[in-house]
Amino acid sequence: MDRSQAREHLEMADRIVAASTRELPLRAQAIFFIVWGLAAGSTDLIYGLIGRGVAPGWTQWIAAALLFGAVAFSAVYGRRLRSLDCGMTFLDREFLNVLWVAMAVAFIANVGGWNLFPVYGMGAIWTVAASIVLLYIGLHENRRALAGGVVLIVSLVVANFSPAAVGYVLAAGFYLGYAGFGVSELLAR
């Protein structure tokens, strides 16, 4: 092997390793963001409508059904993905760990801290957890995720200064930032 061949081999190996350790394209997971973005956004929207007196109180059961549907979908689709598991990198695995830890902490804060957080506080916690997930993906050279994370954080701040429209603003953050990110990942393939 001569010098140019050695350099060529090293450059190729470096390029291949870099592609699989730096990028986080998310492939099949994009659908999770769409489902959860729509479910969480709709939940915020429903509570916003209830808070404004536009929707009756019983509609909160629609929100509960949407979240239950998202959980059921995640369980079924996640199981299918695991059975097809064919190209998961260690970085993909790390991302899934971050996703589940962030969402589990948000869920526990909601269930175990319902005396601490009013209704919109719970919605805000989900926004924070979702933004952590997107910003983590964004740190791995995914600008769409970075933009989605920023949208969620901005929605949190805007909601804080818009007491009359908290539910609507948080909902918009989830629709645009989270579900929108999932759609953009699907379109980018």
Partner: protein
């Protein structure tokens, strides 16, 4: 074993993955399916790569992952290449 560019590419592609299918491996290693098969067989025979055959949705699927031996060989080979280039410069 890793003097072949294709085999080096395969091992590099497997380095950061748990398992990879044949098709995904061909794409990641920047080679064609026809070229990949023979090189993969050599890597499996030498114990650098582990092969698993299974059925997914009633279709046969082969997937591959790097062994400890393959990982060590890759790191050693890269060090050798780097030393060679340093010595030559």
């Amino acid at each position: 074993m890793l003097l072949s560019k294709v085999r080096l590419g395969v091992v590099a592609a497997l380095l950061a993955s748990e398992w990879m299918t044949f098709a995904a491996l061909a794409e990641a290693a920047e080679t064609t399916g026809g070229n990949l098969g023979a090189h993969l067989s050599k890597l499996v025979e030498s114990g650098y790569v582990e092969e698993e055959k299974r059925f997914v949705a009633r279709r046969p699927q082969s997937r591959y992952r790097l062994t400890r031996r393959g990982r060590d060989a890759f790191l050693g080979h890269v060090k050798q290449l780097q030393s060679f280039l340093k010595g030559a410069s």
